[in-house]
């Protein structure tokens, strides 16, 4: 059987200070190669200030069947949002 090397996921930071966003995948056999391939594939137009690569096999992901259990409980915690609170009229910069 042929090998096309392992699958890695690529995260790109487009400007310093910004968060890393998933850009796509590359195949590679080691970290160095994965970084170089990510650079050659996903930053050809100078769109990056940082790169992360991680083996796809090492990523754990939530599944849709757990969606209710994982995400619905947060929906009614409205006290986590600033608009929940009443601020006396006239108070500034809060």
């Amino acid at each position: 059987m042929d090998t096309q090397l392992d699958l890695w996921e690529v995260f790109v930071q487009s400007k310093p200070g910004q968060s890393y966003k998933h850009a796509g995948s590359v195949h590679a056999s080691d970290k160095q190669m994965a970084l170089q391939n990510a650079r050659d594939v996903y930053t050809r137009r100078g769109e990056a200030s940082g790169l992360w690569v991680v083996r796809a096999a090492d990523i754990a992901a939530s599944s849709l069947s757990d969606h209710d259990m994982l995400f619905d409980p947060a929906n009614d915690k409205i006290y986590r949002h600033p608009t929940f609170y009443q601020v006396p009229a006239g108070a500034k910069n809060i």
Binding site: Q4, V26, H27, Q36, D40
Partner: protein, 252 residues
């Protein structure tokens, strides 16, 4: 030789190396061992072709005969090309591509370092831009040297074979003639004697990491400074210059 004339020749040589090696790398398009590496080699080919353009534009200005940078690439004959013999060696297999790139980039890296500090502002500016690219090329090629040198028995044998075959073309990289000496005196050209020892150290260390044996320094091929090449260059130019030569009046 006037200084301008010497500098013209110097730029021509730098441009010839870039255009010929860039051409060989461009030939690899759709021929790499896997897709990611195809893109990586294309990036290196683009870097070399881009810097060739910078060198030739400067050379054409220095020559001052109304020729363009492209005229220098597409309308010069084989005996008027001064690229190092190493650059024109064919893509026999991926091992040749990597070893050729490693040997040349290790040289280029120190050469550009020197030129950055040189007294010709334009050349120093080109060198500063291209040095960044070259550092990446060297890292990329060095990683492959180690990966394949330490890979399987087959990959090690292929790498050793390519290294043995290309080694005799490395002596020429450090030859200095009147052009070099004249410009060196003026603080423009690089001192290839110093670069040679830096290159040797770099190469020795990587070969050790890669489990590859450094070939003995036997007879070294030579000729490019005089426009004497291996048979390969003629074929490269026949292809590269075909349209411009077949339709001399046309512009594209």
């Amino acid at each position: 030789m006037t200084q301008t004339n010497a500098l013209y020749h110097y730029c021509l040589r730098l441009g010839d190396d870039a255009v010929v090696l860039g051409h060989r790398l461009a030939e690899m398009c759709s021929r790499a061992p896997f897709l990611e590496e195809d893109l990586a080699l294309a990036n290196i080919a683009l870097d070399y072709t881009g810097r060739a353009q910078l060198y030739f534009e400067y050379a054409a200005e220095l020559e001052g005969k109304g020729r363009t940078g492209d005229d220098l690439v597409y309308r010069r004959a084989e005996r008027e090309f001064y690229s190092h013999l190493l650059c024109e060696q064919p893509n026999t297999d991926f091992a040749y591509v990597i070893v050729r790139q490693f040997l040349f980039s290790a040289f280029d890296r120190f050469l550009l370092d020197d030129l950055c500090a040189g007294k010709d502002a334009r050349l120093a500016e080109i060198a500063a831009k291209t040095l960044k690219e070259t550092r990446y090329h060297l890292a990329h090629a060095s990683d492959w040297m180690v990966r394949l040198g330490r890979g399987t028995a087959e990959s090690n044998a292929r790498m050793q074979h390519a290294l043995d075959a290309l080694w005799p073309y490395t002596g020429e990289l450090f030859e200095m003639d009147d052009v070099d000496l004249q410009l060196l005196e003026q603080g423009i050209a690089a001192d290839l004697h110093t670069i040679r020892s830096l290159w040797q150290t770099e190469v020795r260390q990587t070969l050790q990491r890669a489990n590859l044996k450094q070939p003995p320094d036997g007879y070294m091929q030579t000729g490019s400074r005089k426009g004497i090449h291996s048979e390969h260059l003629g074929h490269i130019l026949a292809e590269m210059q075909y349209l411009v030569r077949a339709y001399p009046e046309a512009s594209w």
